[in-house]
Symmetry: C2
Subunit: 459 residues, 2 copies
């Protein structure tokens, strides 16, 4: 009995050891084949080129967005998804119009400044606004100046994204409230429009746009972003000529809400088809951008995961979905609608990964987990050592997948190199040419490999 | 006695603990100030712009190289080096001439191919060469074909840099012997010229040049690099039309050897002035390139270390030198001469760091060390966690500092992100515009911080 038990113990131990060892070996081989396939195939790169060059500026509700929806639907079918469908999403409908901004100084003369209206901003009338301008750095300064100094003027928010902040998302976060809330805050003290320094660490000629939010019951005033180079110029002129005037015209307009779509492609799970893993980026892009890094790249990486799984015969246990979320930029209705329907259907969501930090070279993943679970997730990094992908850290997923958190989905963020991401973000500089094939595809492979491992093991 | 001993033990222990803790804290603060200074100052970035735009194509012995020598000498003085001097270096003198390559096919018509002569190659005469061409992938295939198939023809070496190889330097290394030895190997079996596929993972229109080495006592034949796009085209045409001819003209020429200079700037050590730490890149660049990533960036990072040390009042114990090595690309005489003179003078070289892998975002450092020393060096990585610089691994330094190894200098390589480095390398695509300010300066700061820590502690 004892001997038998011991023998049984040894046999079991050996069996486990062999299983783990083989399992590990095979997972390594599968992951190698995933990277090989990604780096030897141009499909995703050419899809991104198409999105950039043929559906540039695909704002929610625009013809370009409709074209992108149809194109990625077809791409998911071509990739071999078991089922592909569109999910109707309510979206705002906003359009940029002619826009110009001229500084008129009795000291320096006149200068046309490089601007772009903020998303969802109201416009001026056709004659524009001619007004004095006052520079402030934060809401505290704005409120200290108060109505007596601000009323009837344009407010110029000029707090830079801090260049010495290493995490470029943190630098962005430290500046962006001027863009999102500046119009409302300035309106409360009587401003008639706002000009906001672009939220980027770059010193460049591109205005970087983005959405604003008007508070309820506050008079809506026009808002535009100004390039950082022209923000520096305007600030310099104002120091010597506080009386300079701005002639601001922005014929953008809000239309009634309309409809667009999330695009979803699914590989049916081989063992647990009722459990879902979602991988996505957002399909909408700013009207002045090709939306290569933000976020056409994230979209084609998700499609590429489906293509690679099919090509290599990887059959995940759980159902795996690639989702092109619509309207991340304006109001996030795509992500909300996806989670709402999932909740209504009682779907079990195991994990969700978002790629919306650009598609520069991969560094790793962020997991919204703690303690033992986080440690287990960090241990996945060993599979990625051969690819020099090392950053497996605690962190967030992204705004499109965050509504899935309530359904229990582990939130995962794809983390590429980001030092220069905000040089592209929300500007005309976000073009296909700024994406490197290898960097994009190292990311596609990393995402596909992570989902493969996550599904294979239980975390 | 015992109590006194115990008390003494405690006091000593507390003192050590406080010292280490303060030391660690202060080092952290110093490193933070190094990064702040680098990211808030444009000096190095503007120096790189100058080198790229005003000394483009600074081959050893060229007027552009002479201009770069003088410019960086002045930059080192401006940075605050205690002494700045030039070190005379023998260099080859090679010049590109008019060059063209036309494929003439009875099936497809004619096509001008994008080529660039290899450095140190001999040229054709003014009429060029018109000849049949034969494609091979490696020297084994070349020798199997032998004289009877090769004699009198142009050899087309078309083995690609493998795209699925993750380490782009390894992929380059797997293809580059066609460029360095191809002409000699082909000459031995009677070839009259060679056309070599550019050693890059990119599929692009840029020919990527580089040096070749002629074996002694082998007939020297002309050699050019062809862009990967045109290599694909030529290969495709050859499959259908093996009789196609090439009209190759390359009026490049070798001149008698001449002289140029290493540029050296030194901060005198405060405690051990007779021990040296060398930090450098190479100043020469290919004539068709601006030499931004290869290696103007490495040069200005070394100058920037001097500027930052002076600006922040960092006084290293050892003498620290920034060295702009001359002629890395052709025959490495700058690095050799620097080590030769150091040996003659009996200088003690503690460590040497080379930045010659481009200036994309920093990943870390490679150390040519083993065992306990390597572990100690790896422990430095904790200082770099706030900057997300994590790769402290075993590896090599670089070709310019390698002759210092015999003098005992620890060899250190600066390791930036490299997935797209070979998209620029040795081509007209290596321009200032391909360098990002933050990525360059994160690297400058990382190098300065590493040298500060290396000198502060003893490794």
């Amino acid at each position: 009995m004892y001997n038998k038990g011991l023998l049984s113990y040894f046999i079991t131990a050996c069996f486990i050891a062999i299983t783990i060892s083989l399992d590990g070996q095979e997972a390594d081989k599968v992951i190698k084949s995933v990277f090989d396939e990604a780096l030897n195939n141009q499909t995703a790169y050419r899809q991104l080129e198409y999105l950039c060059k043929n559906t540039k500026g695909r704002l929610p509700g625009s013809p370009a967005a409709a074209e992108a929806v149809e194109y990625t639907r077809q791409a998911l079918i071509n990739a071999g998804a078991d089922s592909v469908w569109l999910q109707k999403v309510p979206v705002p409908h906003w359009e940029r119009g002619l826009e110009s901004c001229r500084a008129i100084s009795s000291v320096f003369g006149t200068e046309d400044l490089s601007i772009a209206a903020l998303g969802l901003s109201v416009g001026t009338d056709e004659n524009g606004i001619i007004s004095k301008i006052i520079e402030v750095h934060d809401f505290e300064e704005l409120n200290r100046l108060g109505k007596k100094n601000i009323e009837g003027k344009i407010v110029f928010f000029n707090r830079p994204a801090d260049n010495s902040t290493i995490n470029s998302f943190a630098a962005y976060g430290g500046a962006v409230n001027q863009r999102t809330q500046g119009a409302s805050e300035a309106s409360k003290v009587g401003a008639i429009a706002v000009i906001v320094r672009s939220a980027t660490q770059a010193l460049d000629d591109f205005p970087h746009t983005g959405v604003l939010r008007y508070e309820e019951n506050v008079n809506k005033i026009p808002a535009v972003a100004i390039s950082t180079v022209d923000a520096e110029l305007l600030s310099k002129w104002l120091r010597s000529d506080p009386g300079l005037k701005i002639h601001l015209t922005s014929l953008c307009r809000n239309y009634p809400d309309t409809w667009s779509y999330n695009v979803i492609g699914e590989i049916r799970g081989s063992e647990k088809p009722g459990e879902y893993i979602t991988v996505g980026g957002h399909l909408d892009a700013w009207d002045i951008a090709e939306g290569a890094h933000d976020d056409g790249g994230g979209c084609v990486q998700a499609i590429e995961m489906i293509r690679i799984f099919r090509k290599l015969g990887i059959a995940p246990k759980r159902s795996v979905r690639a989702v092109m979320f619509m309207n991340e930029e304006m109001s996030g209705t795509g992500g909300k609608e996806y989670a709402r329907e999932a909740a209504v259907k009682g779907e079990v969501h195991y994990a969700a990964l978002e790629s919306d930090r650009g598609v520069l070279s991969p560094r790793g993943f962020a997991f919204d987990a703690d303690g033992e679970r986080l440690n287990k997730l960090k241990s996945i990094s060993e599979y990625f050592e051969p690819y020099n992908i090392r950053d497996f850290d605690k962190g967030g997923g992204g705004s499109d997948i965050s509504p899935l958190k309530e359904l229990g989905a582990l939130q995962i963020g794809y983390i590429p190199e980001t030092q220069k991401y905000f040089y592209y973000h929300h500007s005309a500089n976000d073009t296909f040419e700024q994406v490197n094939f290898r960097e994009l595809q190292m990311g596609s492979a990393a995402i596909a490999a992570l989902i493969y491992i996550l599904d294979l093991k239980d975390f």
